[in-house]
């Protein structure tokens, strides 16, 4: 991460960083002393979302859908139990709907009201997903958002933006890249980026992985 990147994402934090840090430490100590929280539980929560639950989960789901037509059908019919087959379930993923990209249709997911996001398959959302620019722009100018991410879709491709305004969590099934015939599920999972499962990116092309 560059200094520039850091600056624009945390322009409000810089002057208050140590103050907020102290405040959170004090809060944790108050809540611990009162017996409301167990600091060891906080450590497990942090470890879970930093190391165990992240977009690698979703990449496995996508790669399975690309290689197993029956799984793909179950995923598109009712994603929550299908995803559960791979062991991913629970908080912020109680009601998941998978939406499929095709040559004619590109899907993008946003939550304009807060930051709803399918945690069990993608982990915690990135900073930009929670930011005002993304929440404001995605529903009005999704092609402009894609340009911010550095690519353009064919003008003939329709865009459907899914605003997560209730407890349904959307998850994009991107198109399998060309030139991947015979690839294993594990190899295919390496092509699946987090952004491709939000709809702000596309999977990596095979050359970038093998070459």
């Amino acid at each position: 991460m560059t200094d520039h990147d850091h600056h624009h994402d945390h322009q409000h934090d810089h002057s208050e960083l140590s103050e907020t840090d102290l405040r959170v430490r004090a809060l944790e100590s108050i809540l611990t002393e009162k017996g409301y929280i167990d600091p060891a539980a906080l450590d497990v929560l942090i470890e879970t979302y930093e190391s165990k639950v992240g977009p690698r989960n979703g990449a496995r789901v996508v790669a399975r859908a690309w290689t197993d037509p029956a799984f793909r059908a179950r995923l598109l019919a009712d994603a929550t139990p299908a995803i559960g087959e791979l062991g991913y379930a629970g908080r912020q993923g109680e009601h998941i709907v998978a939406v499929e990209n095709t040559p004619e249709l590109h899907n993008m997911v946003v939550c304009t009201l807060c930051s709803c996001y399918p945690w069990p398959v993608l982990g915690l959302p990135p900073v930009w997903y929670k930011s005002a620019p993304y929440r404001a722009k995605a529903v009005k100018d999704p092609r402009g958002v894609l340009k911010d991410f550095g690519f353009e879709l064919s003008p003939a491709t329709k865009i459907r933006v899914w605003d997560s305004t209730a407890e349904i969590r959307y998850f994009v099934l991107p198109m399998r890249p060309e030139g991947t015939d015979g690839w294993s599920e594990a190899e295919l999972a390496e092509l699946v980026t987090r952004d491709s499962m939000i709809g702000t990116g596309l999977p990596k092309q095979p050359a970038k992985v093998t070459g």
């Binding site: 102290l22 959170v24 809540l31 009162k34 929280i37 060891a40 930093e50 402009g144």
Partner: protein, 219 residues
């Protein structure tokens, strides 16, 4: 409520700035803030809709000046103070000044995995038939409740089409106020870009929101 959190279509925020390979957290306090918030829901006993309202219900200038996890902290402090789990003078002093309130249960390290796996499903049994079916034309109500709602401003008053019927779910507008779950039919409603943004139409844009039945009227 019509707060600063309701950002769909708002102008002036500038471009989206991707941050390649960003870390899950950008400061140590963010880790603790997330974890404290998740853990406190158990002794606190509030629901997700109360949490969302506690975060969004603040002056727009305050909301926009805070980073994401600062908003979480502010919401958490509000929820705890409302229940007298922690008092304002304790937050100001940074230390315990009042006896703890008895709480039924706290989150233990051993209980984390089960708590996360259980989650909080919102689907409930239907007690009445759905008013709308896939393909029906509907209009999003032009409503501006002062309390929590999940109908974004940019679709209010606009014509849409029922894209999917999602079952019966906890109604946030009621649940956020502690007035019970009042489960309602939930629909995915699609709107054409030209219906929502007449001055900036993308002929191929379609936007969907998940709208509860009380948010909709036949059109």
């Amino acid at each position: 409520m019509d707060g600063a959190h309701d950002m769909g279509g708002v102008a002036g925020f500038g471009p989206v700035r991707p941050e390649p390979n960003e870390p899950v957290f950008h400061a140590a306090w963010e880790r603790r803030a997330l974890a404290i918030t998740l853990a406190m829901a158990m002794p606190g006993g509030w629901n997700i809709d109360m949490s969302r309202f506690a975060r969004e219900n603040r002056p727009p200038a305050d909301y926009l000046a805070m980073s994401y996890y600062q908003i979480w902290l502010a919401g958490l402090e509000r929820l705890m103070q409302e229940r007298h789990l922690v008092e304002a003078d304790e937050l100001a002093a940074g230390k315990v000044l009042h006896p703890a309130k008895p709480v039924a249960k706290i989150l233990t390290a051993e209980g984390v995995a089960a708590m996360l796996h259980r989650g909080g499903p919102t689907e409930r049994a239907a007690t009445k038939p759905a008013l709308f079916a896939v393909g029906d034309r509907v209009r999003a109500r032009d409503m501006h409740p002062p309390t929590h709602t999940r109908l974004p401003r940019y679709v209010r008053g606009h014509l849409g089409r029922i894209e999917a019927v999602r079952g019966v779910h906890v109604f946030p507008d009621c649940n956020a106020q502690g007035a019970g779950e009042d489960p309602q039919w939930l629909y995915t409603v699609s709107f054409s870009g030209s219906e929502l943004w007449a001055d900036a139409p993308d002929p191929l844009l379609e936007v969907t929101v998940d709208a509860f039945e009380p948010y909709l009227e036949p059109a």
